[in-house]
Structures are given as structure tokens and as C-alpha cells.
């Protein structure tokens, strides 16, 4: 594995490398060099199995992290190739020519994250959300609770209590609140 990482380092700009387990490694590469390295890994390094392609929304950094999880049948090693792409107008090159099921993941990412894969077949078809009009729901800023409250009705008559507040009300209602500090400038 060390040799492979060295090799990858020689080929592309290796932004990060991490080993999670003996059989699970992660590398981060540049967006422009991704297709090249994936093709190399598939054709020459035995990473022929694409287990999945997924995205993580790094809202705070304004990025999406794409993860291409590859697997090598002969060494039994999983290699996750990470790529960071901009969150605004997110776009990525398609890998459907490398793996015939790649388009499926790309269609899903388009629907659930709003990441476009321009050349990918059927990428704009709906996947699980026919007739969805909100923002792509897997984005971090999609507020599930707010959507749920707006869309569905709550069962009437439910109420709850905070034990600490309730005990205050019952036992020491008259205990004074903390005094306000009187400062000079206020």
C-alpha cells in the first residue's frame, strides 16, 4: 500500500492520505486529476470495483467532498478517493465511462445534493423524489424539521414539560432570579 501511495504521489498532487484500517485507506486528490487517477487505479492497480460514489456536504467550508470508494479484489483493500469541489454551482466530471453503474450515483447526487455531472446519462431524471420542489434535501442547510412541520400536521393535544422548570414551578417558584450586575457604563 505504501508503494501505491508513493506512486500516486508521483502521478498526481496528493492532498492528503489517511489510513483508517489495514484494509481501508483514503486519499484526497485534485478535482482535475481525479479521472486520470481513477482510470489508473482501475486499469493498472487492480481497483476494479467501485463500491459507491457519494458526497459529504461541508457547509462550513463551502465545499462538497466526493468519495469514490474503490476495492481491489486481489489485495482485499478498500481505497476511498476524496475530491473537494465547490459547493456553489457544484459540478464534476462523469465517470460513467469507467463504470457502467456510475451514472446511477451521479443521478442520485444531482437529485439529493444538487451536484451536476454534465455528460452523465439520465443525470437529470428523478431518482427517488418525483415532483420534489424544495432544495436538494441532503444538503446540510435543508431543515428537515421545518419542512416536516410545514408539510405534515401534528397530532393535536400533545404537550410536554421540562422536569427542572416544572420542579421550579412546583417547589421554589418564589426563589429570586440572579441579580443583574450593575455596571458603570450601563
Amino acid at each position: 500500500m505504501e508503494q501505491l501511495i508513493k506512486k500516486i504521489k508521483g502521478m498526481v498532487h496528493l492532498r492528503a492520505y489517511g489510513k483508517q484500517r489495514d484494509d481501508l485507506h483514503f486519499v484526497t486528490v485534485d478535482k482535475a486529476q481525479l479521472e486520470m487517477i481513477l482510470a489508473h487505479l482501475k486499469n493498472y492497480e487492480g481497483f476494479t470495483h467501485l463500491a459507491f460514489l457519494q458526497a459529504v456536504d461541508l457547509l462550513e467550508e463551502g465545499k462538497f467532498r466526493l468519495i469514490y470508494m474503490l476495492y481491489n479484489y486481489s489485495t482485499n483493500v478498500n481505497l476511498g478517493v476524496n475530491v473537494l469541489i465547490d459547493r456553489d454551482n457544484a459540478e464534476m466530471n462523469s465517470i460513467h465511462k469507467l463504470w457502467a453503474h456510475g451514472w446511477q450515483y451521479q443521478r442520485e447526487l444531482h437529485e439529493l445534493f444538487g451536484i451536476d455531472f454534465p455528460d452523465s446519462p439520465r443525470v437529470h431524471e428523478s431518482f427517488v423524489l418525483e415532483g420534489w420542489e424544495e432544495m436538494p434535501p441532503m444538503r446540510r442547510d435543508f431543515d428537515t424539521l421545518e419542512y416536516s412541520n410545514r408539510t405534515f400536521y401534528q397530532r393535536p393535544g400533545r404537550s410536554t414539560n421540562d422536569p427542572a422548570e416544572y420542579m421550579k414551578e412546583k417547589i421554589y417558584k418564589n426563589y429570586p432570579a440572579a441579580p443583574v450586575i450593575r455596571r458603570d457604563n450601563e
Binding site: Q20, H49, A51, Q54, N78, W99, Q104
Partner: protein, 399 residues
Amino acid sequence: MSNLSSSKYRGYEADRSKYPEMKNGKAVIDLDSHKYTKIWQGPQHPGVTGNMSVELIVNGDEIVWAKTHVGYLHRAFEKLMERRKYIQCFPLVCRICVPEPDTNEYCVSAAMEDLAGITVPEKAQWLRTLNLEMSRIGSYLMWLGGQAGSLGMGAIAQWTVGMRDFWLDLFEEMTGGRVYHMYMIPGGVRKDLPDGFKERARDLIIRTRRLLSDVENTFISNALVKSRLQGLGIITPEMVDEFGIVGPNARAAGRGYDIRINNPYVKYDELDVKMITSTVGDAYARAQLRYNDLHQSLDLVSEILDRMPEEGAIQAEMPNLVNWKIPPGQTYVKAESTRGEHGFYMVSDGSEKPRRVFARGASYTHAISVLEKLAVNISISDLAGLMVSLHTCPPEIER
């Protein structure tokens, strides 16, 4: 494999000599020509595996175009988990697969343990192994019923689904639930085996084997079944990499990939799991392979019961799970479900809730890319058999 192109085999390479006409590599299907009919198989159709549907264009009874539709069962578990504490995830994930929920439970717990650096105690590992292997039996029995039912053999479906219920009885004793077991929690499992469990389990193994000998006679060794399934839905070795095919579907096409052997988890490294493969790659080969794998699972459960430690902790020492924070990181944990590689990719950001969880189910490609390809040029009456032989399971597609 040269014989694949012979007309005896249907599936991989469609025979377009008559229809539809091909232009620029694409089939020209003009619905107004009255040569073609569009029909939907599903979502409410006995010949569909679960809540999905296949949109078909047929010419006579031959399928010339197919498209899988999912989304009838989307419950956004991955999103829900981002809004829940780690400990609140395990009751959710089991719902990702009804016949085989435990693989999900295992993967989500193992992913958390991997990220948090927790070692699960020996006894809990054995209990997990038992649970996983039993769930494989339950799932295979249900598949066997589905495969027989899809060919019109309702009696066999009733036997095997009935037998599965006895396995669910064991689950009920062991975990407190029949279908959704919610047994594996981060750090271990929730309960030890009840008294007398091993005897009842061994007894059930014998009963299951007795039933399987009937199934062998009436299904595996049945001229009708062979004529229906042989040559149906051939998966070639080239397709395995191309489409990311895993599990029995890949093993029947000659790819020896079984995670229990390749990347052993829980206690599989100490168990004698044999790689069962075939090179034919058709629906009958897959049926045979699953049937043999089911026998192997019975052997394994028997072995696990023998080796189950009497004493030992069932949970690692854990912090307060209500406030549990996991250090930042990402991991991918996978297990062999009856359908193949089942994995969870989990990202933590150091907070009390997972940043991202992704459940990878084998059916994701099997039921869409692969099915859409293999369905073309087969008879509508074979579609149900083909879907079951791919062992597609919609909830793990849309999570």
C-alpha cells in the same frame, strides 16, 4: 466465454435482428406504431420484489425496453441520522432491509466503533456473528420462497416463508423483536442468549435441513425450474466489474468475492467459510449457489453455537451514550448480506451526531443498471423470476 453469444443464452447481448430497429446504437421505439405496448410491473404487483416498479415496453410478450422506478419507500434514513445522536441511529437503520435488518445494525454500530476506536468484547462478537448468520438464513429462506413463487410454485413459497417464521421465533427470544431486532448497539449487543436457546436453535437447524431436502427435490432438481431459469439473466465476468456486481450474483459469474472471507469481520476469521462460486452466471446457477450458501449458513450457525463462549461481557465499556461524541473521521464498514456487499460509510465531525451516513446496498446496481440491461429480450413472464434471481431489495436502494 464464447458460448455466451450463442442464441441459447438470453440477456447480456440483446438479439436485435428483428426489432426494435437500431439507429446510432439506440433502439427506435415508436409507441404510436402499435408494435409496442407500455406496461408497468409494480409497484403493486406480486411479481415485483417489494416496493418498486419496472416500466416496460414490450413487443408481444418480449421486453424490448425496461426502466426501474424507485422512490415508493424513501424514508430519508441517511438524512434522519444526521439529525440524531449516534445512539439513536440503530433503531432506524434496521428498516433499510426488512428480510435482513441485522447487517445494517452491525454496519452502523461497527462504523461508530471504528471511528471511536472501541473494541467489542469476544462474547459480543460471537453473538453478533450468530445474529448475522441467522439473519442470512431468514433472508435466504424468504428469497427461496420468492424465487419459487415467481415461477408459480406457491407451495414452496409457503414452506420456506413458514420456516422463516420459526427462525423469527428464535430472533424473538434472543432480541425481543421478530422482524426488526435492534439487537446490536454501539459497543456490543443488548442481551445474552436466553436459556435453552442453543437446543432450540439446533433443533430448528435439523428441521430446516429436512425442509431443504424437500426443496431440493421439488425446486432445485425440477425440470420445470431448470427450463425456466437456465439461461435467464446471464451475468458475465466482464459485467461484474463494469456494474459493481457483488454477492451471489458475482460469485455465480465466477468472481470469488465474499466479504466474510475477503475482509473477515466479527468472528468470521475463526469460522470455516467456504467460497462457493459458479461460472455459469445464469439465474439457475445463482439459485443453486444461494441454496448451497443457505446450507453453509446452517453449518455456520451450528458451529457458532458450539463455539459460543458461556461467559463474557456483551458490551465494551462505553461512555454515557446520550452525550457520546465521536472524534472526526471517515470510515467504511462492510458486511456480506445475502445480496452481497452491504456497507456503511460514516463521517463524523466531532459532534454528538453523525455528519453523514451512507448505506450501500447491493441492490443499488442490481435492481437498476443490471436489471435494466438483463430485462431486455426476455419474456414478461420471466421478469419476476429474473428480479428475484438478482435478489433485489428496494429499501436499500433509496434508504
